[in-house]
Amino acid sequence: MTLIEAENAIVEEFSMYEEWLDKYEYLIELGKSLQDYPESAKTDDKLIKGCQSRVWLDHKIEDGKVIFNADSDAIITKGIISLLVGLYSGRTPQEILSSDFSVVEKIGLKENLSPTRANGLVSMIAKIREVAAYGTEGLV
């Protein structure tokens, strides 16, 4: 599945949930399914600023693709980052940079999460882009 297809699939999936609480149920399940993030990688340099909850984002490059791993101490945030990790992890830096990241707005998370949270989300996306941009320059 291309990145655009994957983004569209998520938008479609979310459109099924009319109630906010159903969206949250879904995000909570996603959050619970996010793979284990090692405690040793919960370092300050991987901590994303702007969240009321704490978010850690780690990455590595394998075969020219960026592999993201992330964690949060709050489960809804963890669901959102699971969504983002699912979308952008395992893709080339070029693919990641081709996205306009509007998926977050399209599923209604940016407007509807609290401002502090939205800022955290913005910081998280900025970080993903930053990593991809370094990747294209072979700096990672």
Binding site: W20, L21, Y24, Q52, S53, A74, I76, T77, R117
Partner: protein, 408 residues
């Protein structure tokens, strides 16, 4: 007036969020405003907008009168002995900063000591810390116990002949326990030490009589007690306010100005440099009139039942850890409850409750030292006003249980 009649005075309370009736439980952060406050702000803005204290024209006179009448209302509200003891500020934070700076300039020297408590809001810690750093003074801290009560018995050991001032909150914005400020003040005074009381929550929930309390300074915000935002009050005993140097220099705080020397205006204008937020300050008068309406026995009794209900529910659920539990009667607790739920992040709870129409606060509540004291990264806080109902409290408990079930 019963609770429904009171509610009808506050237009925001009838709105809906996400299609659900708003349940506003974040009153400790800011309270909603009655129509009378909104009307007063509008009246000044649309009819009497002119800079106060300066001009002789009609509009200036009307604006000045509204502003000064608000000062009289505050004086009566606090039972201050003179209107000169009431200084308007932009809020509690500004008032503490003013005292910390000016008091520090006048009386604090290297090696002196200042005492705050572990239960303070950042606004009653940081200004003192800044002053201590500037002066080379030492900041000492009176701890709280596991139930969230100040360990007043340790105060005597902290006070020394180098203690210059003690700053203590009337009611912590996290713990909601009414502190025995009168006893604290008496003990400090017996050692010759003045006391500043942070009344940001206390002025809203207690009948304050500054003469009876005998505090040296009492500070509070207007926006937490139904007035417009950007309003605050510093009460200070005349002898201190007269003796302390001014805070900011500029318009209307002066007597005469020349390049050689400037003399300062008499109290309270000495501390009110620059154009004041007069339209908002004037709303303190209708806000305090509203407080008088809320102080009726029928409503107080009702509010107490709501508080007791929530206190019971939040202390009887094994998953919930409440911070600030009364030791004696429930009367020492205001309807403000900060808690954590085992295995659940406060922010998740706040987000889900929001979607259920309930506005609560989550996070550190500007009291990081207190979060550290209880070993948490944050808490969830529900804080009620007299206009909140038993139905809202019951709905909250039901939603909280639902949210916890979703998350664990």
């Amino acid at each position: 007036m019963n609770v429904q009649e009171i509610r009808s005075l506050f237009p925001a309370l009838s709105r809906k969020v996400y299609g659900k009736d708003l349940v506003y439980f974040d009153n400790a952060a800011t309270s909603q405003r009655p129509q009378s406050v909104i009307d007063e702000w509008n009246r000044i803005s649309s009819e009497s907008n002119a800079n106060i204290h300066r001009a002789v024209h009609r509009l200036a006179d009307e604006a000045t009168q509204a502003y000064e009448q608000a000062r009289d209302a505050v004086k009566d509200f606090l039972n201050a002995s003179a209107r000169e003891e009431i200084v308007f500020t932009s809020g509690t934070t500004a008032a503490v900063n003013l005292v910390a700076f000016c008091f520090g300039e006048a009386y604090v020297r290297e090696g002196d000591e200042v005492i705050v408590t572990e239960a303070e809001h950042h606004s009653n810690i940081v200004p003192w810390q800044m002053m201590c750093r500037r002066k080379g003074a030492v900041l000492k801290v009176l701890p709280v116990d596991d139930s969230g009560h100040l360990m007043v018995e340790e105060l005597g050991g902290l006070l020394t002949d180098r203690t210059r001032i003690v700053a203590v909150t009337h009611i912590s914005n996290v713990l909601g326990i009414i502190n025995p400020v009168k006893d604290i003040i008496a003990e400090c005074h017996s050692r010759g030490v003045p006391v500043l009381v942070d009344g940001a929550q206390g002025a809203v929930h207690c009948r304050v009589d500054v003469q009876d309390m005998d505090c040296d300074f009492y500070v509070f915000s207007g926006h937490k007690l139904y007035a417009a935002t950007g309003t605050g009050v510093l009460y200070g005993k005349k002898k201190w306010l007269e003796d302390m140097p001014p805070y900011m220099g500029g318009g209307e705080m002066v007597g005469t100005v020349s390049f050689a020397e400037t003399t300062y205006a008499p109290l309270p204008m000495k501390f009110e440099a620059g154009t004041q937020n007069f339209a908002s300050a004037a709303t303190l008068k209708p806000a305090l009139e509203c407080i008088n309406l809320l102080n009726n026995n029928e409503l107080i009794k009702y509010n107490d039942t709501v508080r007791d209900f929530l206190l019971d529910r939040l202390t009887s659920d094994g998953r919930i850890r409440l911070y600030g539990v009364p030791r004696g009667t429930n009367e020492e607790k205001i309807p403000l409850f900060s808690f954590s739920v085992d295995g659940v992040h406060h922010e998740d709870l706040a987000l889900i409750l929001d979607k259920m129409g309930i506005a609560v606060r989550s996070g550190q509540m500007c009291a990081e030292p207190l979060m550290d004291r209880f070993g948490v990264t944050g808490m969830l806080r529900v804080s009620l006003a007299p206009y909140n109902t038993m139905e809202e409290a019951e709905y909250f408990v039901e939603c909280l249980n639902r949210a916890i079930d979703m998350l664990v």
